[in-house]
């Protein structure tokens, strides 16, 4: 059973309240809107996995809302709720991309099964995307590069904390290199000959994360045909890197806290205790203290993780490292693509120094990769960089970070024909961050 973020859109208060309560008890995060207009407003700030929409509403109809949602966020599952007399509209909704329709009143089991099916479906899509990205990450692994004071301080800190056994919490924006810092700590630690095992906690639905971490005994559940070691076991003698730790469920926090306290764990369905001989490094781009106040992160687990902590600086705070990083990426991608590109023009470098890089080092890396591919000569010119597409260049007067970011988002989205997954990858951010940015900047897809 997974949980989802659900928005109920219905103009009847009693439906919103009672259905909302039912879904909350089922563990879902629920919000409500009394009209299509309010739903679109809420979706500017929050990304929902599922929308339950009443077809007949005052003002914007459920069908119009469906069309508007599908234009900006095609991955959201929209379930239409309809009365017996409106089945033809429901079928029309299916043609317009609705996931399913429910005839009211419906059996509670019908709703439960449908939501589980949607969660499963969305989790599979996410996992596939994660596996692709993981493959790419593996093939690109680099050591940390930087001569700026900000990074020198990080290097010095890593030197100091690496020899200890303490748990480390690394915070920082997406793309700042939290994973590289974790790897660097491992490489300089007495455990460097042991494995460095990465778990992207945000990429797995809860039940998969549990078996992925703890492993399972043959027969522990229907699909457990053989015994499988979990990542905790695979990290024996080395370091366990828990990336996106802010995404894990309360249940998993309870389990991991117990492992960190007792230093033993069990495979699912297993009775033999297994020694937890690994060092834990966790990373997040979330504000965990805020999450504690909101009740989504356990305080005791936070203090167990936060023995030593540091924050990776955003690239805009150590721009002096851009030339070095850019040169490094240039040579690597030129080698990988077998292209004779070996220079970055002065103009291109100047523009890169002016840009704010909201996606940080990962965005710079992706920009150089693209530039190497599209570059016609030996030298990268401003036009080769994705940040200098026409939409971006058309903003000569207002160079505020907000406007520059907006223009860059439009540029990348148009370039990728509004394919969110592809655009997010190019920007070096995750899809939900991109959705949030689209909404925050009020960007809409050109008709």
């Amino acid at each position: 059973m997974g949980t989802a973020r659900i928005l109920i859109v219905d103009d009847e208060l009693i439906v919103r309240e009672s259905l909302g309560g039912w879904l909350e008890r089922d563990g879902h995060e629920v919000d409500t809107a009394q009209s299509g207009e309010e739903a679109l407003e809420k979706m500017k700030d929050t990304r929902f996995d599922i929308l339950l929409v009443d077809i007949k509403m005052e003002g914007m109809s459920g069908l119009d809302l469906l069309k508007a949602v599908k234009e900006t966020d095609p991955d959201v599952a929209v379930v239409m709720i309809t009365a017996y007399g409106s089945i033809s509209t429901a079928i029309e909704a299916m043609k317009n991309g609705a996931y399913e329709y429910l005839l009211k009143p419906f059996d509670p089991n019908e709703l439960g099964v449908l939501i589980e099916k949607i969660i499963e479906h969305q989790a599979q899509a996410l996992e596939t995307q994660f596996l692709r990205e993981q493959y790419k990450e593996r093939s690109r692994f680099e050591s940390m590069i930087g001569q700026s004071r900000a990074l020198q301080e990080i290097f010095s800190l890593i030197e100091d904390i690496a020899p200890t056994e303490s748990t480390v919490l690394i915070t920082g924006e997406t793309g700042t290199g939290k994973g590289l810092a974790a790897k660097a700590i491992h490489s300089k630690s007495p455990r460097h000959e042991g494995p460095f095992v990465v778990v992207n906690c945000g990429a797995f639905p809860e039940h998969l994360l549990e078996s992925e971490l703890f492993g399972y005994q043959k027969g522990a559940f229907t699909d457990a045909k053989t015994t499988k070691k979990g990542r905790l076991e695979l990290a024996h003698g080395g370091t366990l890197f828990l990336d996106e730790i802010g995404e894990i469920s309360m249940r998993m926090q309870i389990d991991l806290l117990r492992v960190l306290e007792d230093r033993v764990f069990y495979r699912l369905g297993g009775t033999q205790p297994i020694e937890a001989d690994f060092r834990v490094i966790a990373a997040t781009n979330k504000n965990l203290e805020k999450a504690i106040k909101e009740g989504s992160f356990r305080e005791d687990f936070y203090y167990r993780l936060n023995v030593i902590s540091f924050s990776m600086p955003p690239l805009r705070d150590h721009k002096e490292d851009i030339p070095l990083l850019a040169e490094h990426f240039l040579h690597r991608f030129a080698r990988e693509t077998n292209k004779p590109v070996d220079q970055i023009s002065r103009e291109a470098m100047d523009e890169m120094m002016l840009y704010e890089w909201p996606g940080n080092v990962r965005e710079l890396e992706n920009a150089i990769e693209r530039a190497v591919v599209v570059c016609k000569g030996r030298k990268i010119m401003p036009k080769d960089l994705p940040i200098f597409q026409p939409e971006y260049a058309a903003l000569p007067s207002d160079k505020s970070l907000k406007e520059v970011e907006r223009a860059h988002l439009i540029s990348v989205l148009n370039e990728n024909e509004w394919n969110i997954a592809k655009s997010a990858k190019v920007l070096g951010i995750d899809r939900s961050t991109l959705y949030n940015k689209i909404k925050r900047h009020n960007i809409s897809r050109p008709s």
């Binding site: 059973m1 009847e12 009693i14 439906v15 309240e17 009672s18 259905l19 309560g21 039912w22 909350e24 008890r25 089922d26 563990g27 709720i81 429910l102 009211k104 009143p105 419906f106 059996d107 509670p108 089991n109 709703l111 439960g112 099964v113 809860e206 039940h207 309360m250 249940r251 309870i254």
Partner: protein
């Protein structure tokens, strides 16, 4: 000086129940054991026609919960009402019960707990189902949500067979979450 903390859970029969008082006291004991609170039996609702939908011939549980919360004495921490009428919430055909998540009131209906999947349901099985549903709905008022562990009492059961299969206890995760909530309530 701090006011005395509320520490009473009220089991509140609605109308005539097909349950003897011995069972209701057993239920109270189990509630006290799980939630660590005192438990009393006291009717609160004299009539429930205000919540009846004549077309569906069912009672709207959300309205009943609102009334229960309004009527509960101040010293009461949580309320569990038990009724024999069939309950619904709009858009759903029926519910076994409903609770205010992290709130004061909960209600269960015995109407569908007589359902049988094999031979005639025995009084012991029927009472065990009532006990499980009662603890389950009360669990919601302490902020507990549905649990994926099939043997945990907070597991959401799609079929009556699943209710029979689950235990009368909270799993270890739900125990931790309940204990967190108890600590929070004590500090209020």
């Amino acid at each position: 000086m701090n006011a005395r903390p509320k520490n009473t859970i009220l089991v509140s029969p609605v109308g005539d129940l097909d349950l003897d008082s011995e069972f209701l006291h057993e239920l109270c004991d189990k509630i006290s054991e799980i939630f660590g609170c005192e438990c009393e039996i006291m009717p609160l609702l004299k009539e429930i026609d205000f919540a009846r939908d004549p077309v569906r011939d069912q009672h709207h549980s959300t309205l009943l919960l609102e009334r229960l919360s309004a009527l509960a004495p101040h010293r009461v921490l949580k309320v569990l009402a038990i009724t024999t009428v069939d309950l619904f919430i709009p858009v759903l055909t029926y519910v076994y019960g409903e609770a205010q998540l992290g709130g004061k009131s909960s209600i269960i209906s015995t109407y569908r707990l007589q359902e049988t999947h094999s031979a005639k349901v025995t009084p012991a099985t029927y009472q065990c189902r009532i006990l499980k549903e009662a603890i389950h709905e009360l669990g919601h008022t302490f902020g507990l949500r549905h649990c994926p562990n099939e043997s945990c009492i907070m597991h959401y059961c799609r079929k009556i067979q699943d209710v029979d299969r689950k235990s009368t206890e909270l799993c270890r995760y739900c125990k931790v979450l309940l204990s967190d909530e108890m600590k929070r309530l004590a500090s209020e």
